[in-house]
């Protein structure tokens, strides 16, 4: 149960980091973020089952493909929408519709799944633990740490943080906003794609899994404090544990209710989120 929470939390962390990044850089609400997750699951499915590639190669390929799709989408659809919340939301809804149709046409409407990559169960401290869930949490952690190192150390990462703090000042310092926006969108989508690829062997997927996950991502982003990346991580794990525990102890519908109630309560009582500031 605890490990389940960790796994759900790390999936949400990977997923919502991209959402926070895009919101922080471009001030748009990207409802199509869940579709990147969905597309990546299908991409991994395609590479593994149809082309017979190795799972890890497929995962990396899926991240690259989805990242490129996201950059193209950013260039075509989101560029005129920067800074406008509701229009960008509607635009991304349209984008989500289109991605869903693409997935339906390409892969059909049936539920799909991929064979497990890490079979078996190991025993840690007397508790039996499935290797798969452990590995997913581990790989997610590596990816998130890698992303943080990129954000803190590399030049593009610094540019990204500068734009999140103050776009105009960043532009005055010679940061290309357009480049940063594309990069942010691409990396955000690639992280969502990583989540999709990693979770594809565990959960079944179909073309309509995106929006429900996007809403969860919004809960995490609002709980963590909108533009605060550490807050997003914290919130993702809090929500992951709450969901896991409530699902096991009560029922799944109550878990969904908890998530929505948390969103409502945090927005009305502490609008800046857990780690955000005004």
């Amino acid at each position: 149960m605890f490990l389940n929470g960790t796994m759900i939390g790390s999936r949400l962390a990977l997923f919502a980091t991209g959402l926070t990044l895009v919101y922080g850089i471009m001030l748009i609400i990207n409802f199509a973020h869940g579709e990147f997750y969905m597309l990546s699951a299908f991409a991994v499915f395609f590479f593994v089952e149809k082309l017979g590639l190795n799972y890890f190669v497929s995962l990396v390929l899926a991240m690259i493909v989805v990242g490129l799709v996201a950059i193209a989408a950013e260039r075509i659809f989101f560029k005129p929408m920067r800074g406008q919340h509701i229009p960008s939301f509607i635009m991304s809804c349209g984008l989500a519709f289109m991605f869903q149709v693409v997935a339906v046409l390409a892969f059909g409407i049936k539920d799909k799944s991929i064979d497990t990559v890490f079979p078996g169960v190991i025993t840690i401290l007397g508790a039996s633990v499935s290797v798969e869930r452990l590995m997913v949490s581990l790989i997610s952690a590596i990816l998130i740490v890698g992303f943080y190192i990129f954000l803190l150390r590399s030049r593009s990462g610094r540019a990204m943080r500068a734009v999140m703090q103050n776009p105009e000042a960043a532009a005055l310092q010679g940061v290309s906003i357009n480049q940063v926006c594309s990069l942010g969108m691409g990396i955000g989508a690639a992280l969502a794609a990583a989540a999709g690829g990693l979770l594809a062997p565990i959960f079944i997927f179909n073309p309509w899994i995106g929006p429900a996950l996007t809403w969860e991502g919004f809960i995490v982003v609002c709980l963590g404090g909108k533009t605060s990346l550490p807050g997003t991580l914290l919130a993702a794990f809090i929500l992951g544990y709450i969901k896991s525990f409530v699902t096991t102890l009560v029922d799944p519908v109550a878990a969904l209710m908890c998530g929505a109630a948390i969103l409502g309560i945090i927005l009305t009582l502490r609008p800046q989120g857990l780690l955000g500031h005004e």
Binding site: F77, I86, C93, F97, M98, W215, A260, L267, T268
Partner: protein, 330 residues
């Protein structure tokens, strides 16, 4: 009365008369069903726009509509009330529930109002899924009674059974025109001016002595009442209510209809609902393509017509004038 407004009134009267005459020409029950549902959705989309006149976008609107449906269906089924009594009671009950929903939401503004209203609407929707006893769980409510027949002595009895498509169309048409009229008058009244002021700037509005909170609440409750009306008509028309009908799917659609139609103009949501409804019907043979077409229209509208489809004639007319001038030159 100047010439322009005269033309407008005649046009409006023509549209209303056409709407009343539709059942004379179209006999197919299928198309009558399509138009009937479109009437319900126009009520909902227009009341959604009424919320938008204050500058806030509410995602709780569709769950509130569903609550209206559930309220009147439960009143009719558990207490055996007639539809004509259950409808006003449901509107009243849901108005009170909408106060409970919007009370916390009003602490936030803008995008976060949008998310907060989504959260509270979703909690309410999940209540219908979770509490099987009154709400029927995932399977929802079945066999909701149709409205009782209107039996006025001297006139033929009007029945609303499952086979009487035309009478239900007229019922919804009357309610739709009534709601549109009320909302139109409200928008032209002092309340509409106040909504405008709040939309421009809440702070400035409060400086000139407008109680922003109170007026926003009044507007939200009125809009919710109309959504409830739509939901109740929907429930008794479909005779079946499922919680998933009021998922964010419909919420997004209502938002899309209103925004793509154009929230700046009263007729915007009506145009949006009709255009998207007709697209859906015309593409009935290819259901999987419908969202793609929706997405393309939506993207094109937002990119080229930020004011919505309703601003299309305005945007095109200079081009047409230019074209006409060129032809004259020749």
């Amino acid at each position: 009365m100047n010439k322009n407004s005269w033309i407008k009134w005649v046009g409006l009267a023509a549209v209303v008369i056409t709407l009343f005459l539709i059942p004379v020409f179209i006999k197919s029950p299928y198309w009558m069903g399509v138009f009937t549902l479109m009437g319900v959705y126009i009520i909902v989309a227009e009341s959604f726009r009424y919320i938008v006149t204050t500058g806030e976008y509410s995602f709780a609107h569709v769950p509130v509509m569903g609550m209206g449906g559930y309220a009147s269906a439960l009143l009719a089924m558990k207490l055996g009330l007639s539809f004509w009594l259950a409808l006003p009671l449901a509107v009243l009950a849901t108005a009170i529930i909408s106060i409970l929903i919007y009370y916390p939401c009003l602490r936030t503004t803008g995008t976060f109002f949008f998310f907060a209203s989504f959260a509270f609407g979703e909690v309410m929707r999940l209540c219908w899924v979770r509490f099987t006893n009154p709400f029927g769980g995932v399977g929802g409510l079945r066999d909701i009674p149709r409205p009782d027949a209107i039996d006025i002595p001297g006139l033929p009895t009007v029945e609303f059974t499952l086979l009487s498509h035309t009478s239900y169309y007229y019922l919804i048409l009357v309610f739709m025109l009534f709601s549109l009229l009320v909302m139109y008058l409200l928008e032209g009244s002092r309340l509409g001016a106040i909504a405008d002021a709040i939309k421009e700037s809440k702070v400035l509005a409060s400086f000139v002595g407008i109680r922003v909170w109170r007026y926003e609440m009044i507007i939200f409750v009125i809009a919710s009442a109309f959504a409830t009306l739509g939901g109740s008509l929907y429930a008794h028309y479909m005779t079946l209510l499922v919680p998933n009908e009021f998922y964010w799917g419909l919420g997004i659609y209502v938002c899309v209809w209103a925004v793509v139609g154009g929230t700046g103009h009263f007729a915007g949501p009506i145009v949006g609902t009709i255009v998207f409804g007709l697209i859906r019907e015309l593409l009935r043979p290819f259901p999987q393509l419908v969202p793609l077409i929706y997405g393309l229209i939506l993207a094109a509208t937002l990119a080229f017509l930020p004011q919505g489809l309703i601003s299309l004639p305005e945007r095109i007319s200079p081009w047409i004038k230019k074209g006409l001038a060129k032809i004259k030159e020749r």
